[in-house]
Symmetry: D2
Subunit: 243 residues, 4 copies
């Protein structure tokens, strides 16, 4: 189908193999549930940690418009060379949607330049996600808030650069809040961080979560234009006072 | 003197030893000229690349409120361990003022997460620096613009994250422009990038440039407060729906 | 045609009637040339100052997705009631693209909350518009810069709130620069200010200018979602400590 | 005392006269409690609605570095002429700290350009204010969060422009959250909105609230420099292609 956006969903895919509770919720892996966010405006493919080159070959990335990233227990197993490759592609224009515990991935930390640390608690408490930027396209079709009945808590301070735009913020029953939908421009690429998605809860089957992920992929789509030119430049106007 | 701000001026200090033209302009090194920006509200010290640990020991950094950074030809000689140390201190609250070709330093690139690339030309052309944020404290005492008679050109696209605040922008005679005074918050630290200062021009003796550097150091001073707590957190409110 | 975006080009349309030089460049009015920016993804209509209600009836605005605004000599003739109506619609989600001397329109000043003042000069000098945000959709299809051979100069300080995103900046031969492509979110609406377009130059026939205007209209398109609810709110969780 | 900052605390001062419950908490008026935030680095004076010109004469404002604003039930009684005068002074550089229900004051709405609407509830529930920008000077001396035992709730969506910097966000027991400490640059002035302070609670006696108010006044202090020049400008460089 013409004009489809090529999205690649990357998943660490370890919890599902090692933990019965996770497998029960996501029998085909978190990536397959995340991939369920996309309708036929998207061409969806998948990549996982234990494939060669983590499934992220140069060719695969060259053909990816937007990459989604879910990782948690094995951030350290992602090879630095692949991290470099992904970051370079983002800076060249590929979109990146980082999900939940991906905040601590090498890719996200490198692109942010900060620790990306935060508070967390696994108590399965209620999360209520509020829209704070009602005109932003990533909020399209989303009510003024939506609830996730059971989720891991993430709390402030979240050690990221101030987002270029804050779309969502989360209220947690246990008393914390969190900037949970954050837009960043980096190089020619666009990055969206979206908080929910602990591996033991069916978060990625929830309609609102899927809508946000789909909206985010469209927002993060590459902008078609010639690449910037860097380095030594000839003058465009006469210079009269060389010194 | 009580309440002085401890600033450390770091300089690569290689051009001055290798190049007669640079030594003529900065006989005691660029760092000494940069240090001339500060009055007695500041306690100024210096550090250079060829000192042990580049002069940036743990103790030295622990006693630095704001670090200034000038480097150009030897970015690659800065040890990664020291880069980590400096970046960690910035994220913990130390201010950082990055000058001119320091845009390509390991420290700045790591904190920005982008290539920090740009256009450049050494033609000694005129630069006119305009204030675009007239209420910002870094613009205090600066007219609506000031000129530097001869400077290296830096042109857009400058591959940095969108600054939290843009204070200055530069017009160049050869036809380019540049975001030349950029504020960033990273972690608990504040970073200011200031464009001018090619080693062959007496830029760091110019009154307006010195005023900006001094203003920037004051703006970047650490905020005194307890550090954020990260990691596993006990609930502050009762959780009634654990799942 | 389904899914077309309804754009309304509003023009003061006075210079063209009063000034032979302007009429020569824009015989059918500036609005018709601006309207030439749009292909069949858009449904274009027009409105001008001297029509009843300035052509901006409640019904017209209700059916407008994105409004473009060109005004200059007759800002004072725009009735306050219509200004209120347009601003209300923007806050409710209608996009707004403000062109050139529209910076001083009542609508733009009211939405910005600042004077929107600037420097200007009518010398027909060269303007070179640089892309400073290469990944932004409004820069799609635009090279790293483009030139307008003859334009009125606008210079900093431009008294606007810091844009949510700066896409373009202009270099002028006479020595000034200007933030010339500025994004703002206001209420549920999105606003883009685009600098070029003095009435005596054929700026709105230039390909790059038209491309930017078309890109901006798409970026500013309304986000489809239920409106926020304001006012007295019932608690969503039990309150245990009423005081 | 030299170098003191001149702050003027403006209070509507009506609730205290009409409502016994409010008078009990603030017998001398809210303004006197707010004024208690300042130590001897500040020179504090007061102004109230029912004074001539609301206590905000041209002379008074000319001698005010930072104005604090508390109003609620009588926003409509503030004369438009005084609103214009205050806004003009802010754009010229006077700092402005808007407190609680001042979000709906004519002054704040005019400077923001949006409705400034929000959700609210008077249930006396708990508010927990989190620091989301730990390096910002307005957070100096503040822990990672502080609690107000009983407060009115304000909830998102808060219809303001995206703040230049978000320093605090509030969690409410009833299930909402709010951007409660927001920085804005407007013209040459700096504006801080701070959420807490309902008239029936002793909020303005609380240590953390006072510290934030004092920090905010220092942050909002005017930047000393010559005013920007607007209007017709002579070229600074030769123009070779007048057209």
């Amino acid at each position: 189908m013409a004009n489809q956006l090529n999205v690649t969903v990357w998943n660490e895919f370890r919890h599902e193999k090692q933990n019965e509770a996770v497998r029960k919720v996501y029998p085909d892996g978190l990536h397959m549930a995340i991939g369920g966010s996309f309708d036929d405006r998207f061409n969806v493919s998948y990549a996982t940690l234990d494939e060669p080159e983590h499934g992220l070959t140069e060719e695969k990335l060259a053909n990816t418009d937007v990459l989604l990233w879910w990782g948690h227990s094995a951030h350290g197993d992602v090879q630095d060379e692949i991290v470099e490759r992904v970051c370079r592609r983002v800076l060249e224009g590929m979109g990146l949607v980082v999900l939940h515990s991906g905040h601590f991935s090498k890719v996200f930390k490198k692109l942010m330049g900060t620790t990306c640390d935060l508070k967390w608690r696994e108590a399965g408490e209620k999360e209520r996600i509020w829209v704070v930027s009602p005109g932003h396209p990533i909020a399209e079709g989303i009510g003024e808030y939506f609830e996730i009945e059971h989720e891991e808590m993430y709390g402030e301070h979240f050690d990221i650069p101030e987002p270029d735009h804050l779309v969502f913020a989360s209220w947690f029953q246990g008393g914390e809040l969190f900037r949970s939908g954050c837009c960043f421009h980096r190089g020619q690429g666009k990055i969206f961080y979206f908080r929910p998605g602990h591996e033991t809860y069916p978060t990625y089957y929830q309609e609102e979560v899927r809508r946000v992920i789909s909206n985010a992929a469209r927002w993060a789509a590459p902008t078609k234009r010639e690449k910037p030119v860097y380095g030594n430049a000839q003058p465009l106007e006469p210079i009269t006072n060389e010194g």
